[in-house]
């Protein structure tokens, strides 16, 4: 029995959590005080959410350092999601 233990240090877990909380505060603060227009604020909020999502995926879910197969599974999910959004919105905007 060896190898499959990727034990993440306590401090790393805590740092990821602090990062997530800080970014949540930044999300609320930026939405309430910075005016980039409705679409500008939307893009900013989604960008922050994606950074938070990456923190969760890579560290809390241990995708960083996980097997190549699992990385490909989630990578291809993101690809197909992009395909879904791309085709739907190209139809919506350029019809």
């Amino acid at each position: 029995m060896s190898g499959h233990n990727h034990i993440m240090p306590f401090a790393t877990n805590l740092k990821v959590f602090i990062g997530l909380v800080s970014l949540t505060v930044f999300t609320v603060w930026s939405a309430k005080t910075i005016d980039l227009g409705r679409n500008g604020n939307l893009i900013l909020a989604m960008a922050i959410a994606s950074v938070k999502g990456s923190l969760v995926l890579l560290w809390f879910m241990h995708l960083k350092g996980d097997s190549k197969t699992n990385q490909v599974i989630i990578g291809s999910t993101v690809f197909f999601l992009a395909l879904l959004f791309g085709i739907v919105y190209s139809d919506l905007f350029f019809r």
């Binding site: 997530l20 909380v21 939405a31 409705r38 959410a49 995926l57 879910m61 999601l81 879904l84």
Partner: protein, 229 residues
């Protein structure tokens, strides 16, 4: 049926405990992929209607209490931390410590659902549930005030109803995931109590952890989209 004690050995159709663990984890990742695709379609719909009826989304967002949404976000992030730590303690062989962390995770999940209950019941009593649509006068005043404040000339009440369909479906499906998560936590508690996990076998804790983090990840996107935008 013969039950395999995975602390001692692996199921006969695997060549090693490592292989069994990897297979189990990979299956969970595939499941997570389907979860992301399922919610992905709903997010796709959210943006579609948002681009078509932006005014309804302004009003809808302002009708929700962002402070409750933010509180729920923080609680869910905390539960993700305690879940990640529970996986860590199980990996280290400390079932008793992992048990406490799973209990905290469950309490966070229950807190989330209690807040959601108050949010939902408030909306339903105000007549804003799409299936029983009858906004009470008090809320109509609120809606009209928001419309006037933002100068939303193209606002139509039926589009607000559409926003609330999107809101209830997306947060509702997410809420169902939280409730299922609570069930899974109780399953883990039972197994942790029986000391069923060890440094060699912790696949179930890790799997529930992955599920819980995906539920958190979806909320990370839902919170700004529903409450702040």
């Amino acid at each position: 049926m013969h039950k395999v004690d995975r602390r001692v050995t692996h199921s006969h159709h695997f060549t090693s405990s490592d292989q069994e663990h990897e297979a189990g984890k990979q299956g969970t990742w595939f499941f997570m992929a389907t979860e992301v695709m399922m919610f992905g379609v709903l997010f796709c719909g959210y943006f579609m209607y948002r681009f078509k009826y932006p005014d309804a989304y302004v009003v809808g967002g302002e009708l929700l209490n962002w402070k409750l949404g933010a509180a729920n976000t923080l609680v869910l992030l905390l539960s993700s931390l305690t879940m990640a730590l529970a996986v860590r303690e199980t990996q280290l062989g400390n079932n008793a410590k992992a048990m406490k962390l799973v209990v905290v995770t469950t309490l966070c999940a229950v807190f989330f659902m209690v807040v959601k209950y108050f949010e939902y019941s408030g909306k339903i009593h105000a007549g804003l549930f799409p299936g029983a649509w009858a906004p009470i006068p008090e809320y109509m005043d609120k809606i009209n005030a928001i419309v006037a404040q933002h100068g939303l000339e193209n606002f139509k009440l039926e589009n607000l109803r559409l926003f609330l369909v999107v809101y209830f479906i997306m947060t509702g499906l997410h809420g169902i995931h939280i409730v299922i998560g609570i069930g899974l936590m109780f399953w883990l508690m039972k197994r942790l109590k029986n000391n069923e996990f060890s440094k060699e076998y912790y696949t179930a804790v890790e799997g529930v952890g992955l599920y819980w983090h995906i539920v958190d990840l979806i909320w990370i996107y839902l919170f700004p989209l529903m409450y702040l935008m």
